[in-house]
């Protein structure tokens, strides 16, 4: 936690990063980057780095919320299906052949819907005290069904330019989703380090009993964090789905797994209490980079069927390295 203020100066920041849990990940990412740019320098082209960042942005946005959920000692595996419902309803709202609402209203309604779904999760978890894994596991299944019902067997193929701009447009040379992602990261950093809410989240996660005795509003904090995750999921949907021209019913399938992997590989403790945004951001970059790396290494036809195995080994490698670095540090 106290390392977070070192983010002001780059050198110190990097040193701080090395001291953190994300150190192994940091090294691993750079190792991989270095290796692949030796094989194929085109990887380091600006256009490619930008595309990787664009792909990482929605994952990163959701991870910022999910990290807080994990810090609280809870979990949310419903984000993928939530994305599906949000994409479907957003598409249905703007499609001229369905509801034909104006993009502005659709954006606002989508954000509200996302927050409401997150709030429903949060309400069941915080106020009815149902274990989060069960609530979100149920939501994961049920919301996928809702998506199919909304789509009704046809896809949305007529997204208006107004909404497509969110996904394809750019501002001051950078795609909009990167701005949004940067905003979310800054906001989350501020939330974690500068606000009472941030401190409370960490306090509750590391010692719920003590936090309860200290009079912290545990229920309200949990509720807010889940609602916030829902809001961020809606935000991620808004900037990523309009990148494509077709809204299909499979949007967000497996997203929960990717996000959870990123957050835990990024050094967030599964049992709550600790987590670093920098580690999570690095993990997101690493995870979205892997498949691009594999394509740039041009491993040939034989490697086609091994790509998933290599991805798995990559994650294993990151975990191992992280472990080694940490055990070095503690000894």
């Amino acid at each position: 936690m106290k390392d977070g203020f070192q983010g002001l100066r780059l050198g110190k920041w990097m040193l701080g990063l090395l001291k953190q849990r994300a150190a192994g990940l940091f090294c691993f990412t750079f190792l991989a980057l270095g290796l692949v740019s030796l094989i194929n320098p085109a990887f380091l082209a600006w256009g490619n780095l930008r595309d990787i960042a664009v792909q990482a942005a929605p994952v990163c946005i959701i991870s910022c919320g999910l990290m807080l959920v994990l810090v609280l000692g809870e979990i949310d595996i419903s984000v993928g299906s939530m994305m599906g419902v949000l994409a479907a309803s957003m598409g249905a709202m703007v499609s001229a052949t369905r509801w034909g609402l104006s993009p502005w209203i659709a954006v606002i309604l989508t954000l509200i819907l996302g927050t409401l779904m997150g709030a429903l999760n949060g309400w069941l978890i915080a106020y009815l005290r149902v274990p989060s894994i069960m609530v979100t596991l149920g939501m994961l299944t049920a919301l996928r069904g809702v998506t199919e019902v909304i789509m009704g067997g046809t896809w949305i193929t007529d997204l208006p330019p107004g909404i497509r701009y969110l996904g394809t447009g750019s501002w001051m040379g950078l795609p909009i989703c990167l701005w949004v992602c940067a905003g979310v990261i800054v906001l989350s950093t501020w939330l974690i380090h500068r606000t009472p809410l941030g401190r409370r989240i960490f306090a509750i996660g590391s010692q719920p009993r003590a936090a309860h005795l200290a009079g912290l509003p545990i229920q309200r904090v949990k509720f807010l964090v889940f609602a916030w995750t829902g809001f961020l999921t809606a935000l991620a949907t808004l900037v990523s789905v309009p990148q494509l021209s077709v809204v299909d019913s499979g949007i967000g399938v497996g997203m929960e797994l990717l996000v959870v992997t990123c957050v835990v590989v990024g050094g967030t403790s599964v049992s709550g209490g600790t987590g670093h945004l920098s580690g999570v951001v690095f993990a997101v970059l690493l995870m979205t980079m892997i498949s691009t790396l594999l394509i740039f290494m041009k491993l040939g036809e034989n490697a086609t069927y091994w790509s998933r195995a290599i991805q798995g080994l990559f994650i294993l490698g990151a975990i191992l390295l992280d472990h080694l670095v940490r055990s070095k540090k503690s000894s």
Binding site: V130, I133, M134, L137, L140, G145, V149, Q311, G312
Partner: protein, 316 residues
Amino acid sequence: MKTKWFSWLSHPESLLSCLTLVMLGWIYKEDPTFLQWEVQKELSTHIWETALMALPMTLIILTGGIDLSIGSTMSLCAITAGMLHQHGVPLPMGCLAAALVGLAGGWFNGWFITRLKVHPLIITLATMAAFRGIAEGVSQARPLSGFPKSFTWLGQASWLGIPLAGWLFLGCLALCAWIMHGHRLGRYIHAIGYNEVATRYSGIRVNRILLGLYCLSGLSASIAAILFMARRNTAKADIGAGVELGVITAVVMGGVSIFGGRGSLFGVCLGLVLIHETREFVSWHWSRDELNLLALGSLLILSVVFQQLLGHKRSS
């Protein structure tokens, strides 16, 4: 008297029993043919693999762990047996090799968890990708089929009106029940779930128990893979995809606490029955697969909300 009634109902098992009975009653009213023995026997073939893997998963979740890699282990085992069969190795040897691969996969998870102290969720997330990836790579994503009749017979045969896979499950269930209730290991497993550190300090070999449990999980995945191959006459790298979700849903539905220490095998069996009957009946009756997802998700949430509310009634 009234408080006693509530305290009885607040056990997840009794609540689930009531839920199961109500549901079966309703199904009987709607469509009695669904509950005929022949129909149920045929449909039961869809659940045995999940059920078999749910047993070790229950024990693992009782210790506060989780194993997400079982679906991928299944595919790896199936590919092992299938490839060996294709290269002329007799199928029983292939199945043995598959079981060894399953054990090795489980041991690998267990080793990371006990030695490197990696959280089970993290390591099994990683092996979930790695194992399926290896299966895909080795088999080049091709299906392997053409197993002998004697093997596929295993998937269809039944004894005393129950499929062989069902007997296998009942046997494993009896074994697990004995471990949990008739052996000190059961107490240790609960203890690890309550407080791993305290258990360690009381001189119990926690690492050995955990390693054993993850190996058992891998083994059960390999048996499930063999059952699947016998039933569908195919081994392929995509089998068992998403199976872990079904297994975990059944276990948590059965009232096993995800934080460990609390839950029973009986509850898990009820959870399995509920999920299986819901899934089959919804597509039997409405023929709309998307409703299935809605029904399963709502059932899971509803049952835990009920459990929670009745539990609160008791405490207040």
